[in-house]
């Protein structure tokens, strides 16, 4: 397989390919979900007032390191398999599979969290009893499930439009809140709220705001050139930084932290404080729009991952069953059901901030593993790549240490009280990791052995035997003639 694995072939002009604007929108859209509004509040728990914007800035600088690392890895392996293939080449197949299964659970968490947050926001606006939020959750997930089963997909340009609308809409409302309501910049130092600043945890949660931006590497196969993905990886964090910083400053300007900390819809509170009912509806519309990206992107990414894993033999083959729209229906239905159950647990317990902490910790862990992969592959892969990170080895080593520290800081944070530690996030991750690893070590070998035995028993090799080299081939009788003959 040397040639297929050798230097990436020159990009061929495809009839439909992804350019920089679409790739950037994909990256920013994957990162910026409704849960990010809560993510900003989580940053403010550790970095009060305007210092949250500073934490978001530093988080953005760290994310540029991640962008550099993933750009080089993507240049080496431009494939939809993404992090799974990087890890498989660096640390082995089983570890890669365990990590990817754990990573995919964050998709379920984000889908569930977004369903909960959007349901809560809609219920709030309609002044309905809190119990009705779960009805909205089920309705949203049901719509997403139906659309996916019918093979409905957002066109690329719609996804791009939605992403830029959400980002610009949030930024514009935040600017209006800062400049037109109470004149935040007349007394800018008032923006620096009171409270303790806990740098490492603030950074870890700031990193979460950019989480999943690197998933754009899974579209590498449809990019016009490899540099398109590199460009998107560096531009998208810049867009998110602007929007998240403005949003944090506007929150600090208009709302006391005590009003935000226990709210599932801080964006609606900001909209109301800035522009009254119009602002509230404005932010509700943007929140609902984020669902299009989360449900479209999240369901597609996760269900196709499940399909590929089932086809490969790493999950029961029933997950690869297709309906007449060529959609892996069992994968999609399972995803929707698990998301509904997780959303119900969140709804019943009110622990949505725990999801933020778990997501932030897993993301930091993935960045540490990405850095480790680059460190190892720098030694093993000497071939040219379209992007090479300057000082790649020391930066990758730095990334391993830094993101591991951030993983631990978030893993032991108390999502509800910044002054306390908690083992809840790390415990959730440990359980998810143990389940994934146990499954990969115990069940995957059995599944693969069963698949091999089934194939051997049911289906002899179809390809005709070739005569040995030097023996004249018979004139006829080998298979069917070519359709082009």
């Amino acid at each position: 397989m040397a040639a297929a694995e050798g230097a990436p072939p020159a990009a061929v002009a495809l009839r439909r390919s992804v350019g920089l604007a679409t790739a950037t929108a994909t990256s920013a859209g994957l990162a910026f979900a409704a849960i990010d509004y809560l993510g900003v509040v989580s940053v403010m728990a550790y970095a009060p007032g305007a210092t949250a914007a500073l934490a978001i800035l530093i988080g953005g600088v760290l994310v540029l390191l991640v962008a550099g690392i993933f750009s080089e890895l993507n240049g080496l392996y431009p494939t939809a398999a993404g992090i799974r293939l990087y890890l498989a080449r660096a640390v082995g197949y089983r570890t890669a599979l365990s990590v990817t299964f754990t990573y995919m659970t964050t998709v379920v968490l984000v889908i569930a969290a977004d369903a909960f947050l959007i349901g809560a926001a809609v219920r709030h606006i309609l002044h309905q009893p809190s119990a009705l939020a779960y009805v909205w959750i089920v309705v949203l997930l049901g719509l997403a499930l139906t659309a996916n089963l019918r093979g409905v997909r957002l066109a690329g340009w719609v996804q791009t439009l939605v992403t830029y609308t959400v980002l610009s809409g949030t930024a514009v409302l935040s600017v209006l809140a800062l400049f037109h309501v109470g004149g935040a910049f007349h007394r800018p130092f008032d923006l620096f709220g009171k409270g303790s600043f806990s740098g490492i945890q603030a950074l870890a949660f700031a990193l979460f705001l950019y989480a999943a931006f690197e998933w754009v590497t899974t579209t590498a196969e449809e990019a016009r050139t490899p540099r398109v993905i590199t460009g998107a990886l560096f531009i998208a964090p810049f867009l998110i930084w602007i929007v998240a910083s403005l949003f944090a400053l506007a929150l600090a300007h208009l709302l006391p932290f005590s009003a935000l900390h226990h709210s599932a819809y801080p964006q609606l509170l900001l909209g109301k404080a800035a522009l009254g009912t119009v602002g509230e509806l404005w932010m509700l519309a943007l929140t609902v729009l984020t669902a299009l990206n989360t449900f479209n992107g999240g369901f597609l990414v996760a269900s196709r991952f499940i399909y590929a894993a089932a086809r490969e033999g790493s999950l029961p083959r029933q997950f690869a069953m297709l309906n007449l729209n060529a959609v892996p229906w069992l994968a999609v239905v399972t995803l929707a059901c698990v998301s509904a159950v997780v959303a119900a647990v969140v709804f019943a317990t009110g622990e949505w901030l725990l999801l933020v902490a778990v997501g932030a910790a897993i993301e930091a862990g993935i960045y540490a593993l990405g850095s480790l992969s680059l460190l190892i592959l720098r030694r093993r892969e000497t071939r040219e790549r379209p992007f090479r990170l300057v000082a790649g080895r020391p930066l990758a080593a730095f990334g391993v240490v830094l993101f591991t520290a951030l993983f631990l800081a978030t893993g032991f944070s108390d999502p509800k009280d910044a002054s306390h530690f908690s083992v809840a996030p790390i415990a959730v991750i440990a359980v998810l990791g143990a389940l994934s690893t146990g499954y990969v070590l115990v069940f995957v070998p059995r599944l693969q052995a069963a698949a091999a035995a089934r194939a051997a028993a049911n289906r002899p090799r179809r390809r005709p035997q070739r005569p040995p080299a030097g023996v004249t081939e018979p004139a006829a009788g080998m298979g069917t003639p070519s359709v082009d003959a």
Binding site: A4, A81, T480, S482, D484
Partner: protein
């Protein structure tokens, strides 16, 4: 290393299996694409024209502007078109490389998945 004659034989069998499978044709009814295939070991290239799920032709050479480009060894292509290997396993290990949208890559695999579910 497989030559064009072997590939053409495999492609002919693949075409018949695909076009005669009614369920597959129904699934792929909205899928019309031009595919290019390039062997990484012997520089053989060939194309595939698919119209609403029906494979119309599989000529040698690169014809038209592609929606998908697939690259791997000629032997892998042969085994894949005969249904003797699971393309997803090769793809996830980086042994088959593809240019094209994720949806199209999946649709291509759907063909193998439906006509050879045990591969």
């Amino acid at each position: 290393m497989a030559d064009w004659d072997e590939l053409a034989e495999a492609l002919a069998d693949y075409t018949i299996s695909c076009n005669s499978n009614e369920r597959l044709r129904k699934m792929q009814r909205d899928w019309s694409r031009t595919l290019h295939f390039a062997c990484s070991d012997n520089e053989t290239t060939f194309s595939m024209e698919v119209d609403r799920g029906e494979i119309l032709s599989t000529p040698e050479g690169l014809l038209g502007i592609p929606d998908i480009v697939v690259r791997t060894h000629s032997e892998t292509f042969c085994d894949m078109f005969w249904g003797d290997l699971n393309p997803v396993q090769k793809y996830l290990r980086g042994e088959i490389t593809v240019q094209g949208s994720q949806e199209d890559v999946m649709r291509l695999d759907v063909i193998s998945s439906v006509i050879w579910p045990d591969a």
